[in-house]
């Protein structure tokens, strides 16, 4: 009797038909005598709409808000009609949706009257996406005669700090409460459906889990209930060796270590955010990325142990586009403590994330990679604050570059990997503009001109025979 926490992402609950598929996957597991906890994201696109509406509400009037909420009801009710056959269940779920949207309308109207939105009220607005989706899954499960009960993250017992927008769970308090509320249901074979992404403070104020999102809810519940595995159901087979749009022969990776999976975060939405992996790493609970539309496929297993020990040195290669490189040069930086910190301070205060850093021991220059759309802002503030103060002589930039990241846990301690990577690039006649390797040795990143990016990825994919993984 295995205990599994399953999370279903936005696209897997995008339409009524998809929700039926989700319900049949859950039913199949219940039939196999697994104890299942379901974590649900908002319907595809809804969270983004809520983010926008939350920002806009302060400038809108009541009528516009009403238009928005009507559309929201329409979308969800249409999904209900597709996903659920039983008329009385349809009605019941529809009522819950209308009541919930009614609450949202009041919140938005409040924001519109006050004319401001705080991080606290923003989290409250964002929580509605999941709160509207979970009852539909709950209804769809009842429709196929499963015993189930619906919870918000707060009702399930997830308690976080008060860092609204990016809240962290208090793991021990959460474990205590979640056990008390969900464990007895699992023993009775009742399937709890829990809203992802949202939780509450110790005083019951709604918070959201930020970038970890619904995956984070799944891993937190899994640790609290000591489940056997976490399954993240998405719309791809698993994590790939590279983007199949660049290399047609890209393969799905059958297994990854936690460390490797954390490095894969740069693959974006198709991988897991490192903070969502954090709870399961400590508890050593395996995570599986699986495809809702291809449930026969076993997906990518993320775990630490014999099963994820592999011989491949390099496992994946990623191409990160839309970045820009900034080179900062200054003779006075040499041997001057604190000069780098001035640079980082300026960029950090402008809310710009630095993706990659490289500086040689000569100390005379430092290169940074940031998102391309932020380049202008970064250059102008760096120029204003630092040039002419005796620290920095020159700032240059290149906005036609991309980052290539080569990943694999066995790179650590293996000699000659870098040499193979760079020889491969050199043989293509391509110049490397910047290099960085963290001391974890799981990842080598380097920068080339964007026009060469795809060719480099293909060459490395071939050199390390990733199509045969």
């Amino acid at each position: 009797m295995k205990k599994i926490v399953m999370k279903f992402g936005g696209t897997s609950v995008a339409t009524g038909e998809n929700i039926r598929q989700v319900a049949s996957i859950i039913a199949d597991s219940v039939k196999k005598d697994r104890r299942v906890v379901v974590v649900v994201s908002a319907l595809a696109g809804v969270t983004n709409q809520l983010v926008e509406e939350a920002e806009q509400a302060k400038k809108k009037d009541e009528k516009q808000i009403q238009e928005f909420t009507e559309k929201l009801i329409e979308k969800h009710v249409a999904t209900v009609m597709e996903a659920i056959d039983n008329k009385s269940i349809q009605k019941e779920v529809e009522l819950i949706i209308k009541k919930t949207v009614g609450e949202l309308e009041k919140v938005l109207t409040g924001i519109c009257y006050v004319g401001e939105i705080t991080p606290k009220s923003r989290d409250y607005v964002l929580s509605f996406g999941e709160r509207l989706a979970a009852p539909i899954i709950w209804g769809a499960l009842r429709d196929i005669k499963l015993q189930t009960q619906c919870f918000t993250g707060k009702e399930a017992g997830i308690v976080t700090d008060e860092n609204f927008g990016e809240a962290r769970p208090l793991m021990n308090v959460t474990t205590h409460q979640v056990k008390g509320r969900l464990e007895s249901l699992l023993e009775k074979k009742i399937v709890p459906v829990v809203t992802g992404y949202i939780a509450a403070t110790q005083d019951g104020v709604v918070t959201t889990l930020g970038r970890g999102g619904s995956d984070y809810t799944a891993t937190v519940l899994s640790v609290a209930l000591s489940s056997d595995e976490v399954w993240i159901w998405t719309d791809v087979d698993g994590i790939m060796t590279t983007d199949p749009k660049i290399v047609q022969s890209a393969k799905m990776l059958p297994q990854l270590s936690y460390g490797e999976a954390s490095e894969m975060a740069i693959f974006g939405a198709k991988a897991m955010h490192p903070s969502a992996l954090e709870p399961v790493i400590e508890a050593n609970i395996p995570v599986r990325i699986r495809n809702v539309f291809n449930p026969q496929n076993q997906g990518t297993l993320i775990a630490d142990g014999e099963e994820t020990k592999s011989t491949e040195v390099v496992k994946a290669v990623a191409l990160i586009r839309d970045v820009a490189m900034i080179n900062i040069r200054g003779a006075a930086m040499v041997g001057a403590p604190g000069s780098y910190s001035k640079v980082f301070d300026v960029i950090g205060k402008n809310n710009i994330n630095i993706m990659m850093v490289s500086a040689a021991v000569s100390e005379g220059n430092i290169s940074l990679i940031i998102r391309r759309n932020l380049l202008g802002r970064a250059l102008s503030t760096l120029g204003i604050v630092l040039i002419g103060r005796g620290v920095i002589n020159e700032i240059t930039s290149e906005d036609d570059v991309c980052v290539i990241a080569v990943m694999g846990a066995n790179m650590k301690g293996t000699l000659g990997v870098a040499s193979r990577i760079f020889t491969t690039v050199a043989q293509k006649g391509i110049n490397i503009r910047m290099i960085a390797q963290g001391s974890s040795e799981l990842n080598v990143s380097f920068v080339v001109k964007e026009k060469d990016g795809a060719a480099v990825v293909r060459a490395i994919h071939e050199e390390f025979k990733l199509d045969q993984i």
Partner: protein
């Protein structure tokens, strides 16, 4: 102060008797601003004078009948919410089913920024990892040295005196009642039921003795030791537990022939936490008789260290409350200076 039974009254007595010297010796000037009991409360925001505490104690229940400060019907939670105080001393009776009402008292105190000193094993046995996390998060202290060893500072000894070393395992006789019964059985050849009766007549055992003789009390203490000293996040249901109901005189005789005896031993080591009747040599440092408690800490470098003392009793436990209050005072003082 929430709860005004034997321990609560003991705390009041010590405060009254030792007030002047506490102020002088430690610069410690505690004021009791409210006492909540099951049927009401007394509140005096300026603090009760020692004589007044004594008078409240003498008059007996309900304490809320006090003409000057009584608030009949005011609950402990209301007191915790509304009365200005730094510390809540939680000394209500133990409940190991759901730990209430103590669990609510403690969490409410944390949320309102008050430190907790408790002698109540229930909340710790059922939710210790959660409670320590909640205390940290709310930036308050949770102290409970009266829960293990009573007046004998077993927790502090391990936490402070053995700080640089690594404690690998803990083993001990942690319940005076069962130790009294087993001692009676082995030394005076009294059958279990008879020994239990004696213990009840002497006031060592409760009318409903299950908490002691089925090993629950020992298991609670094992949970507290495991969490606090060994940083193991366990709760009561993680302890494998056997009581002393089935210890026979024959088994004790057999053990005696081998130079051993049977004691109810609580232990935590790499394999887990257990409470069960265990045969130990009579000359072992742990082998204490009567209502005494003993605990041995197995350390990596300093060898085995055993502490022996009276494990329970109202005044002994009350002295532990004072110890905890002083500890919090020291902690707060060092915070102010750094």
């Amino acid at each position: 102060m929430v709860g005004f039974g034997v321990v609560g009254k003991g705390v009041a007595t010590i405060l009254a008797r030792r007030y002047a010297e506490k102020v002088k010796g430690y610069g410690f000037n505690p004021k009791v601003v409210a006492i909540a009991d099951i049927d009401g409360t007394v509140v005096n925001p300026r603090g009760f004078k020692p004589e007044k505490l004594e008078a409240i104690k003498q008059r007996g229940y309900p304490i809320s009948a006090d003409p000057d400060f009584g608030h009949p019907g005011m609950s402990a939670l209301e007191v915790i919410d509304s009365v200005e105080a730094e510390v809540v001393v939680e000394v209500t009776p133990v409940n190991i089913k759901d730990a209430e009402p103590a669990l609510s008292h403690i969490t409410r105190a944390f949320k309102t920024g008050k430190h907790i000193v408790t002698t109540n094993k229930g909340p710790l046995a059922l939710a210790m990892p959660a409670l320590t996390e909640l205390a940290d998060y709310n930036n308050v202290y949770l102290r409970f040295s009266g829960t293990v060893g009573g007046g004998t500072p077993m927790l502090e000894f391990a936490k402070r005196c053995l700080a640089g070393d690594k404690i690998l395992a803990i083993k001990g006789i942690l319940n005076g009642t069962t130790n009294y019964i087993l001692t009676e059985m082995s030394q005076n050849r009294v059958a279990f039921q008879k020994a239990l009766k004696n213990a009840q007549n002497l006031g060592y055992a409760e009318r409903e003795p299950s908490m002691d003789i089925d090993g629950f009390d020992t298991a609670c203490k094992v949970v507290i030791l495991a969490n606090w000293i060994l940083n193991k996040k366990i709760t009561l249901k993680d302890v494998s537990r056997t009581g002393i109901r089935n210890v026979s005189l024959q088994a004790l005789d057999k053990a005696s022939k081998r130079g051993n005896t049977i004691k109810l031993i609580g232990s935590i080591n790499g394999e887990g936490a257990t409470v069960k009747p265990t045969e130990i040599p009579k000359n072992n440092a742990l082998c204490v008789s009567g209502v005494l408690n003993a605990v041995t800490f197995f350390t990596e470098f300093a060898g085995e260290q055993t502490l022996v003392g009276r494990g329970a009793g109202g005044m002994e436990t009350a002295s532990a409350v004072l110890r905890d209050l002083l500890d919090i005072r020291h902690k707060l003082a060092s915070k102010v200076f750094t």
